[in-house]
């Protein structure tokens, strides 16, 4: 029995190692995803190019412009000459924001008169525009404090906010757990459903069935290598997150690995379940891409928060394994919680795994039809 199992696993490794496509999905995809999410898909930005329309052209306005650039978030591209040029840079997509400083800036500033600084942004990219305006407002306020040496007004309410667990609002804190959840799902669910569908498609399933192998052994033999490889992948992503993007692992490492393993099992059982419902690789691909990838990416709370979704999407989000795994990961990695804080999520994943296995067991055909 053990010998047969190893023969199966060995055969599966040959398939994986000799197929460039599988290899690419296995090892290229995690790397590409981490790097794409890490460097491209992020709300932080540096050196956003801005134009300045300076009507004042005095000492203080110059200091103000320098102050804006000092943070590293903004870089002045052009000093505009007139109102007519405001749109120009934005239309060309070069300028993200235009700051217009009114006349008599210096005088009004030190006289304590109200000053209005006009800010124009490119609303076609609302997320970015919002963030830029926020940054600019902050910089303006800090400029004001700096110059006036202001004592805080004793009669005003000051909001002192602190972002716990992610003080710098680094987006890596969000995408590393999300990427792990996605990658494990893709590798486990998609690749296992593909590899089982492939045996059906090329006809080898027919021979495997007419052999002493039990269905359980066929399935275990097929998924074991993928379980191992996806676990390795999870560890790689956590390591990249830790060393490259400085995402901490505050919780117990063993607990974290255990949770990854649990999720691997959930994804595998899902993949097996998909494979029992399809006959061809193409079908398996469609089902796992449309049915798993898209919802897991969009509805798991990875990219958009679940709470702000229409009720029906929120409920769909609640039946996606990735939703719970991302919560577990964030808890263990970022907040450093122990098992007792994530019992509910762990329970849900366990129930899902058992459910999928039961369904697959009922669906597995010991014959061809």
């Amino acid at each position: 029995m053990v010998k047969v199992f190893w023969a199966f696993v060995k055969k599966e490794f040959y398939h994986i190692l000799r197929d460039k496509r599988t290899l690419l999905i296995l090892f290229g995809m995690p790397l590409a995803q981490v790097l794409i999410f890490g460097y491209a898909v992020t709300n932080e930005f540096r050196d956003a190019e801005i134009d300045v329309l300076d009507y004042a052209k005095d000492e203080t306005s110059e200091q103000y412009i320098n102050h804006l650039q000092s943070s590293g978030n903004f870089r002045v591209r052009r000093i505009l000459a007139s109102q007519n040029e405001v749109e120009e840079g934005m239309k060309g997509g070069k300028t993200k924001l235009v700051v217009s400083i009114p006349e008599n800036f210096s005088e009004d500033f030190y006289a304590g008169n109200p000053i209005k600084i006009q800010v124009v942004t490119d609303g076609s990219d609302p997320n970015n525009a919002n963030t830029l305006v926020q940054y600019l407002t902050e910089m303006t306020q800090s400029f004001q404090r700096l110059k006036r040496n202001e004592v805080p007004n004793p009669y005003s309410i000051q909001v002192a906010s602190r972002m716990m667990y992610n003080p710098q609002l680094a987006s890596a804190y969000n995408f590393v757990p999300g990427t792990i959840a996605l990658i494990l799902l893709i590798i486990c669910a998609m690749l296992t459903s593909l590899t089982i569908a492939k045996e059906k498609e090329i006809g080898t399933m027919e021979i495997l069935l007419v052999s002493p192998l039990s269905p359980l052994l066929i399935i275990l033999g097929k998924v074991a290598p993928y379980a191992l490889l996806s676990f390795v992948n999870a560890v790689i992503v956590i390591l990249i997150g830790f060393f490259v993007f400085e995402v901490p692992v505050l919780g117990n490492t063993l607990l974290l690995l255990g949770m990854c393993f649990l999720y691997v099992l959930t994804a595998l059982s899902l993949g097996i379940f998909i494979s029992t419902t399809v006959k061809t690789q193409q079908e398996a691909m469609m089902k796992s891409l449309m049915g798993l990838m898209m919802p897991s990416m969009l509805l798991s709370g990875f990219i958009f928060p679940l709470a702000s979704m229409p009720v029906i999407l929120e409920y769909i989000g609640k039946i996606i394994p990735a939703t719970y795994f991302i919560r577990i990961l964030k808890g263990v990695m970022l907040r450093g919680v122990g098992l007792n804080f994530i019992l509910f999520e762990v329970g849900v994943l366990l129930v899902m795994t058992l459910g999928f296995l039961l369904l697959s067991w009922r669906n597995f055909k010991i014959r061809l039809e």
Partner: protein
């Protein structure tokens, strides 16, 4: 105990009968051929016997075991080679063979005797990937894989389809030597010329068995007058003969026409007649029936029947 025993098996797909009341037996050490064109139901029957499909009606036993109730036991002891090449193309010759040996709980060394004659021919290429083998070699590898666990019954579904003439002959020689090892072999083929290489054959068409007999008997017992007619204007002659009152059936056969008459006539007689009717180059011979003649004659009857 019979190696295979089939009783009144029927099977339909969406209302179309794929198999209609099939019954026959295969003895131990017998090479039994299932001869019929594509779509005759051969593969369906193979899959029922290898426990992959359930028949709608009837029962079948393989090695004395019931194909439905005792399917697990059957799966341990039969060898099955499906119609399509179904080995792992991305595994080498040796890896394929050793994988199938292992899942049947044996090793290549243990049963090397059995596959030796076949395997030596592909052994020089044992490091080559199965997908890169020629058609004939693929079939030899598939046969080795089906044999490696010493099956008592061997099911070969169209093993020579798409294989060159030389390899086909080699393949049949191997089957002959296998049955001497007391393995029962059920083999299907669409090639009529291969029928004579079997001990016993069943002619099958549209899910029905037309006839079961030893191929020699089948050919000898064909009792209708049969002639080969040769001319350069084959198509005109075919049309012409179809209208003749003495014609039972006339069918193109390679470069000849095979004519079965409903009355007893001599070859010379027919030749004279046809010459006088304008086919000056015509030649007519008496011939012995081949399996194909038998099959075509029976299938004509079957069509009238249906």
């Amino acid at each position: 105990m019979k190696a295979i025993s089939i009783h009144n098996i029927s099977k339909s797909y969406n209302g179309t009968k794929a198999l209609d009341n099939i019954s026959f037996d295969v003895q131990r050490g017998q090479l039994f051929g299932l001869i019929g064109p594509d779509g005759a139901g051969k593969s369906t029957l193979f899959r029922i016997l290898t426990t992959l499909l359930l028949a709608d009606e009837g029962e079948a036993f393989v090695d004395g075991l019931h194909v439905v109730n005792q399917y697990q036991e059957i799966r341990k002891r039969v060898g099955y080679m499906p119609g399509r090449f179904s080995l792992y193309q991305d595994l080498s010759v040796e890896e394929n063979l050793s994988f199938f040996a292992t899942i049947f709980g044996t090793t290549i060394e243990e049963n090397y005797d059995l596959v030796k004659d076949i395997y030596v021919q592909i052994e020089p290429f044992k490091k080559r990937l199965a997908g890169k083998l020629s058609g004939g070699m693929k079939q030899k590898l598939a046969l080795s894989c089906a044999l490696i666990h010493k099956p008592t019954v061997l099911f070969l579904d169209e093993p020579t389809t798409g294989v060159d003439a030389v390899s086909r002959k080699e393949f049949w020689d191997m089957l002959k030597s296998l049955k001497e090892k007391n393995i029962a072999i059920l083999v299907s083929t669409p090639y009529m010329d291969e029928a004579t290489l079997c001990d016993e054959i069943a002619l099958i068409q549209e899910g029905r068995i037309l006839k079961i007999d030893e191929p020699q008997n089948m050919m000898e017992r064909f009792d209708k007058p049969l002639f080969a007619v040769k001319t350069n204007s084959t198509y005109q002659l075919l049309k012409h003969l179809r209208l003749k009152p003495y014609t039972h059936s006339v069918l193109p056969f390679g470069e000849c026409l095979h004519l079965i008459t409903s009355e007893v006539l001599s070859a010379a007689n027919i030749q004279e007649q046809l010459k006088s009717e304008g086919f000056t180059d015509v030649e007519v011979f008496d011939i012995k029936a081949s399996i194909e003649d038998v099959f075509l004659d029976l299938s004509l009857k079957n069509e009238k029947y249906a």
